[in-house]
Symmetry: C2
């Protein structure tokens, strides 16, 4: 049984000094020119994406406590892509980074248990994964069981950062309680289960709360005092550090902000023109970490 | 651009005479004895599961119009499991079966597009996949775009078959409309988009509606007249053919019922004792097909 994931994440954030996470979302067409090849077929594209992803991990490792590889971009290349995904996970762990596998898996009991085994169990699996809670508690519990047994973590989708998240998540009951608040209550209850709350008061069961909805985030911060929030939406999706701050407690704990495209494709940003791409990534990661640290008041 | 998936599915059902689908959920510990080996490590377990899964596909191919491989059980074996999943998909298609990939993927715009490419696009990908709609329309639309362009299909989770599905899906607004009904309306709207309704009036965008909730299914049948329902919950999960019938229209169209464990593990059922496992699977598939045909009144 490993140390509770929530304490591990808080420790990692304290060591690096900023509550940030870099998303690894590799898309061939956006890679730096040196990875491009007019003749590239599927296998060569994947090789390039893997090399780029490992380079990003190495570039950001001194700066951030965690990375969040996005499974979808690897699954495009099927079995070879999945092998590459786990190579990225392994390299990040070798470099002392925590890894949040962004897989958004969900299913009922026995099938959810298979997903939990596949994506969360074992020393070479990610430290935490994202999960979609539409199927209710018995779709989440099998993941929780692995978290408890192995010191791993979960982030359940509560309020997503995309424009149409509101189509479903703002559905409200007669008291005005919205679905995302109802989901938050469920997550809070599940996360308070035996053996899930770490020494510093946070649960290994966290929540995904988009930075693009700061008013909702403030409300959710009250509803889920024991949840660490994984906060997407900064940068390319338009949220600022001030928006992200809504997901933190006054003491500056309680959330980790993710940025993906604005960091990993920094070579395409004017302010980093002329730099080699790994330096551009490093500078963008540092600027991101500094911006969030200031925004949260750390 | 292929023929609309809804017409392809209706044709396949008509050819086989029963609206049923067999779920391929391979778990090593439940395989017939001849696949067991005390020394089996991970690779040998996967080899056994693949051989068994291909055998199930061959056994049921003369009887059912479609199979539904469950990605989770393959993902347990990471890249080798994913390769095995696509071998099962290919073999099923060679045998003229439609394939519904049970992947329940979900994410926002660009990432959902990557999942759609990974799991639905191309001649060797499944004919349809399951999708979780908690992220709203812009999480579903990228899958719809592939469906329209390539004659593929979707089944969006509306009312799942598990006990705690109600935790979330029964959340009701001031008018008593429940979340699953709201989700149904969203699916109906998305499914009515340009180029999505097939000649016989059904959309290539369908819905997952659990057989374990027949009253809800009847209500959903009214709310989603153009959706084909993928109906889990028969057999091992306890629903009867009469329960499943609630998802069909009076003319016997509009749904396809799935059974997984009660068919593929038929060798463990008393009534099939003494049969070789492929014969047990075949008899169970036939009994399932006959039971549903009678229940629906075909």
């Amino acid at each position: 049984m490993g140390q509770n994931f929530a304490d591990r994440l808080l420790d990692a954030i304290a060591r690096k000094g900023s509550p940030v996470c870099v998303g690894i979302d590799p898309v061939y067409s956006r890679l730096p020119d040196e990875f491009k090849n007019d003749l590239a077929g599927g296998d060569e594209c994947l090789d390039a994406m893997l090399e780029f992803s490992l380079g990003v991990v190495e570039a950001v490792a001194p700066i951030v406590p965690a990375i969040k590889p996005q499974s979808a971009y690897f699954e495009v290349y099927r079995q070879r892509g999945v092998a590459a995904y786990y190579q990225v996970v392994r390299r990040a762990r070798e470099l002392g980074l925590l890894v949040i596998g962004d897989v958004k898996r969900n299913d009922i009991g026995s099938t959810a248990a298979a997903y939990a085994q596949a994506h969360l169990s074992g020393p070479d699996a990610p430290d935490a994964v994202t999960v979609n809670g539409y199927l209710g508690a018995d779709g989440i519990q099998p993941f929780v069981d692995v978290c408890r047994a192995e010191g791993k973590g979960l982030f359940v989708l509560v309020r997503t950062s995309n424009p149409s998240g509101a189509d479903i998540q703002d559905f409200a009951d007669a008291n005005g309680t919205k679905l995302y608040e109802h989901m938050a209550s469920q997550v809070s209850t599940i996360g308070a289960g035996e053996g899930l709350i770490a020494q510093r008061g946070y649960s290994c069961v966290g929540a995904v709360v988009g930075a693009t909805w700061p008013d909702e985030a403030r409300r959710l911060r009250e509803l889920m005092p024991e949840q660490i929030f994984l906060v997407p939406g900064y940068g390319a999706q338009g949220a600022t550090a001030a928006d992200c701050a809504a997901s933190f407690k006054p003491d500056g704990t309680g959330a980790i902000v993710n940025a993906s495209r604005s960091v990993i494709y920094a070579h395409q940003r004017e302010e980093y023109a002329g730099l080699a791409w790994p330096q551009a990534v490093q500078k963008a990661a540092q600027a991101f970490a500094d911006d969030i640290r200031r925004g949260v008041g750390l």
